[in-house]
Amino acid sequence: MMLNMVQALNQALEQEMERDPRVVVLGEDVGVDGGVFRVTEGLYGKFGGERVIDTPLAESGIIGAAIGMTALGLRPVAEIQFMGFIYPAFNQILSHAARLRNRTRGRFPAPLTIRAPYGAGLKALEHHSESTEALFCQIPGLTVVVPSSPAEAKGLLLAAIRADDPVLFLEPSRLYRAEKEDVPEILTELPLRKARIIRDGHDLTVVAWGAMIPAALKAAESAAGSGVSAEILDLRTLSPFDEEAVLASVGRTGRALIVHEAPRQCGLGAELAAVIAEKSLLKLEAPILRVSGPDITIPLPKAENLYYVGAERIARGIRRLMEF
């Protein structure tokens, strides 16, 4: 069935709730309203208010409550309305959810999923365009996942909910309704921790995720016009990430371009570059480049385009890398 990402996520939630009575959904406006982006639409009507829970406006309370639910064997899926509003819950995520397995030597893992839309491109209010995934990639015990298409979104969300570790599942809001894709009605989960090559190439490797994937594909097509063959690796799981796939691709192509819309400094691109620089230095034919947002707060809509990373900037990065 042709679905956009919102519909695919909705289907994943509905099917998984039907399959597994341990799955509950909670968050601000996820119930009666169906979520501000409608990802949870229809669930309240189908599963009721004790299972699709409209909470008060309190992010730390939401994540803390989700943690407590795992104690009794539930698998909560908590929604944080926008990534820019997740920080009040930072302590519950970092000091608790991510550490419980380790603190209790496996007695009380915390298999919860935190969903949040993230990223720029919607010309939204302050705090509504955040892309701070790297902050969460330094948290031991936390799995961070970002889908790049409707089918990916469904399969990875199923995997996130079924994972026995806490997962931060970041949804690129720019892709919510961008395109439809054929999403199998019956779909098992896609593997976590595995990157996928979505375009083969031999001149350079573009490592990206989320909304940067369609942009990178576009840039690669335009580069192909100039005879440049770009391989594109969709990282999918940002932490723990698939180092082997990254090194294998860069080893083949000899050039690495890392793309993210987050600020450059201490973005996940830094870690990827560092790993390549440590383990594949002799295979490199050019410096490792990053195309990213600058190290500033993302501007309000009037100047958002000056910040935002799209196909043009990626294409420019490809050119610069090939010209080296």
Binding site: E28, D29, D33, L57, L300, P301, E304
Partner: protein, 318 residues
Amino acid sequence: MVLTRTADQKALKLQRQGRLGTYAPSQGHEACQVGAAFGLRAEDWIFPYFRDLGLYLTIGFPLASYFHYWMGNEAGLISPPGLNLYPLSITVAAQIPQATGAGMAANYLKKSLAVLATCGDGATSEGDFHEGLNFAGVFRTPNVFVCYDNQWAISTPRSRQTASATIAQKALAYGIPGIQVDGNDVLAVLAAVGEGLERARKRKGPSFVEAMTYRMGHHTTSDDATRYRDEAEVKTWESRDPLTRFRVYLKGKGVWDEAFERVVTEKASADVEAAVAEAEAKPAGAPEEIFAWTFKELPPRLAGQLAELKEFLREAGR
């Protein structure tokens, strides 16, 4: 209040025309916003939230700047010199401990002034609300906290926001006097907040006002309130319109007539149109503008990124 209503409706219209971004409308809040602001003095400080148009206008904040912000430019948050208005908080309740800190500073500096902070009923569930009010109680700060209890936090009704019988009674948890008033009665709000401001200036400690009102519109222009609330409820509150009520009051006092209404309305329309024109004439952000204010001095790495951006724009022919 008329100006607030007029400007608010204009903002909604501009948003529909694509001339203004996502917007949080103020309709229904005119009395509590204006009433909260009316008793302020020049030396007082204000920590507002994102639905506070009437407050902004009452204290003399330029409407053009207000539009400019909601059109998508940070420069619209700049308070004119002499106006002690902190930028509105979009992250819910973060302004509460900040306002308390301003009150602590006033105590340390031995200044006689009041610090006003506003929030919605949803904000009362956030940890920051609690921490800020608790500090205010402990340090006996010159704060007045005003909660516009407008019954809805997006789709969450007041009854599901907290099981507390009133919001006002939450103040007792912090040793702060709390009062609930009719938030659609501008004079009631003014009286309650005014009393708090006086207490503050006399260094008698903080106070809390719950102003009962109703969010007549959607949460923002991205929201569709008909999905989750009853039209009948909206109708009930329509009949309590703060503007109508004040009009009736003024008429009873013999200071309102249709000519007066016409003058006020026309003035408001003209002011709003002028403000829109002024806001739309302001330049969109340039690359330098978005880099200039991260640090006091631009670090070399940021300067490099700015140069990179400008080179990209040049190459792209923009």
